[in-house]
């Protein structure tokens, strides 16, 4: 709370003499700089204190060998070389790549649903409201909920058996690949509504007249979709794609925590869960930090495009 008071006190001083600010341009400009500096201060303090400082400390800790409650000593790149020989770490990053490979589904499925809703068939507002409901439920709650839904004798398998799909009624959370598949499917269940909402917002910016004109020119439904709607929706698709790319791994943590704990074996072990496990359960802080830094690099590479996109969006002058 102390931080937020800084900018409030500053502008009072900046406000009192408004008249002489006009004549000599330079002091006014300098004062505007000081005002700007004061305004960005709280955000800078937050970003530095809770993001950059921990990141730097993480890098430092990752070069130390420290475990248990004992002290720590400098270990150079040992923790990093150790990762390459650790099957758990390698599996976790391979699983992360598998998850990233599902990104097209994350991008296309909400788009299709948004397009269906956008047809404005009866009750479309109801569907729009209902699709967002899963997103409002906390991932940890979602995870615990789906532990029941996906249980061997749970409602999903009961449904599959009742419609004659007996062979599909498997132990969803207990197979080498079915566990990771279930995890991603539950995550998708939990987040698709946000995507639908984002796409609907983008669709709303397409003028009716444009579609009308294409319709009058004889363009069929799919032609209109492909030649008019999709190109005009590109910024929204880009925005949602970058959000998914930088978020998909992060969103999985509470689900792993509640659903699989990384198992069976290491089938659903992902880097973000491994960092948590190594640091707080095995108390191997140096190694945990090294895996954390590797995860940071992985996410940073994935989301570098989103940052570039956001930077140009935020600094571009309109028209």
């Amino acid at each position: 709370m102390t931080i937020s008071t800084a900018p409030v006190s500053e502008p009072v001083a900046a406000d009192t003499p408004p008249a002489p600010a006009r004549r000599p341009p330079r002091p006014g400009r300098a004062r505007e700089w000081w005002l700007g500096a004061a305004l960005v201060l709280p955000a800078l303090v937050l970003a530095v204190l809770f993001k950059l400082v921990p990141l730097v400390r993480g890098v430092v800790t990752s070069t130390e060998s420290s475990s248990g409650f004992g002290g720590s000593e400098f270990a150079g790149a040992d923790n990093y070389t150790r990762m390459f020989d650790d099957p758990m770490v390698l599996t976790s990053f391979r699983n992360a790549l598998l998850v990233v490979a599902t990104l097209p589904v994350w991008i296309v499925l909400p788009l299709v649903l948004a397009l269906l809703i956008h047809q404005r068939s009866p009750g479309w507002k109801f569907f729009r409201a209902v699709y967002f409901v899963p997103y409002t439920i906390a991932p940890i709650v979602v995870g615990i909920m789906f532990r029941q839904i996906l249980a061997p004798d749970g409602p999903l398998n009961a449904l599959l058996r009742s419609v004659g799909l007996q062979p599909l009624a498997i132990e969803w959370l207990n197979g080498r690949y079915s566990a990771l598949f279930s995890l991603v499917a539950v995550a998708l269940w939990s987040f698709f509504g946000l995507g639908v909402m984002t796409y609907l917002a983008g669709l709303a910016t397409i003028p009716e007249e444009t579609l009308e004109a294409a319709y009058l020119d004889g363009a069929g439904f799919f032609r209109r979709l492909w030649s008019v709607v999709v190109p005009m929706l590109r910024p929204t698709v880009a925005y949602w794609s970058v959000l998914c790319a930088s978020g998909v791994l992060i969103w999985l943590f509470p689900l792993i925590y509640a659903l699989t704990q990384g198992g069976p074996g290491d089938a659903t072990m992902l880097p973000e869960y491994l960092v948590f496990l190594t640091t707080f359960q095995f108390l191997d802080r140096g190694y945990g930090s090294a895996i954390g830094i590797a995860l940071f690099v992985f996410v940073a590479v994935l989301s570098i495009f989103s940052v570039r996109h956001m930077f140009t969006e935020g600094t571009r002058k309109p028209r």
Binding site: L39, A47, V307
Partner: protein, 277 residues
């Protein structure tokens, strides 16, 4: 098959697809509600069907076990604190970067949105160390400040994008009329950006209320732990029955669901406003 006929079949298929997804979206929730109303024996006897008789005992027991009022209060304080602080800080940066002649503004903007690439999971131990060093472990302000920092990049980006659309002439005119910068920001720009602010507030409320890792690590087992930490602990106890856990889950998800249903209109219009480029 005339085209009119096939168009009608298309409509039916479309509605059918929408209904299937809607059922998939709400069924897990309904299942949890139904389970929470069963007695333990009733659930063991028939886990999938409707309850023979409705009991509220699970809710009372969940309240007793979890010290629910305290958890709700903790979640409310930290979420609102983080939300207000994060939006306020983002508002100030967005104004400085887009509407002031402020050298270095672009670098500050870049620095803040770059922190989006630092996930809490990657730096969780050093973050915990830092909060500990600040003497804020197990304290409300520790979690509030961390929430604010993690909500900052997206908020700054959204508000900056919004302010960018406001013509500079409008600001100039207000300046000539003698308005100070803070007056312009809070009396002129903030009202214009209300849809974006509302959407941002709801978005922040949802993720801060629902977050697990930050409160788990910063609050730990202290009395200030949030509702989600309480829920995660509840599900770990082995003597806890499915109906009891279900009741705990419903209590945990209800506040956000209610907020969403109440502010649904603002969320939609805010999402619309945010993408208008």
């Amino acid at each position: 098959m005339n085209p009119r006929h096939s168009a009608r079949i298309g409509r039916y298929l479309l509605t059918f697809a929408l209904v299937v997804v809607a059922v998939a979206a709400v069924y897990p929730l309904l299942f949890t509600v139904v389970s929470s109303l069963k007695t333990q024996a009733g659930f063991a006897h028939d886990p999938l069907g409707l309850p023979a008789g409705i009991t509220l005992e699970n809710y009372l027991e969940a309240f007793r076990r979890m010290n629910m009022p305290r958890l709700l209060l903790n979640s409310l304080i930290t979420t609102l604190g983080g939300l207000v602080l994060s939006v306020l800080a983002a508002l100030l940066v967005a104004y400085a970067v887009t509407k002031l002649r402020f050298r270095g503004g672009k670098i500050v903007f870049l620095l803040i949105i770059v922190t989006l690439t630092i996930p809490s999971q990657a730096i969780i131990y050093p973050l915990y160390q830092t909060v500990l060093d600040l003497g804020m472990s197990g304290q409300y302000q520790g979690l509030i400040l961390a929430y604010a920092a993690f909500g900052l990049p997206l908020g700054t980006y959204q508000l900056a994008g919004y302010f960018q659309q406001v013509p500079d002439e409008l600001i100039e005119a207000a300046r000539v009329d003698g308005a100070g910068h803070l007056t312009i920001l809070f009396r002129l720009l903030a009202p214009i950006a209300t849809p974006a602010l509302a959407a941002l507030a709801i978005f922040n409320f949802v993720w801060m209320w629902n977050d697990l890792l930050l409160p788990l690590v910063i609050m730990g087992g202290s009395d200030s732990k949030t509702l989600m930490v309480g829920v995660s602990l509840l599900s770990g106890q082995y003597d806890v029955s499915v109906p009891l856990v279900s009741a705990g889950l419903i209590v945990a998800l209800l506040p956000v669901l209610v907020i969403y249903l109440v502010f649904q209109r603002q969320l939609v219009s805010g999402a619309l406003a945010g993408s208008g480029k």
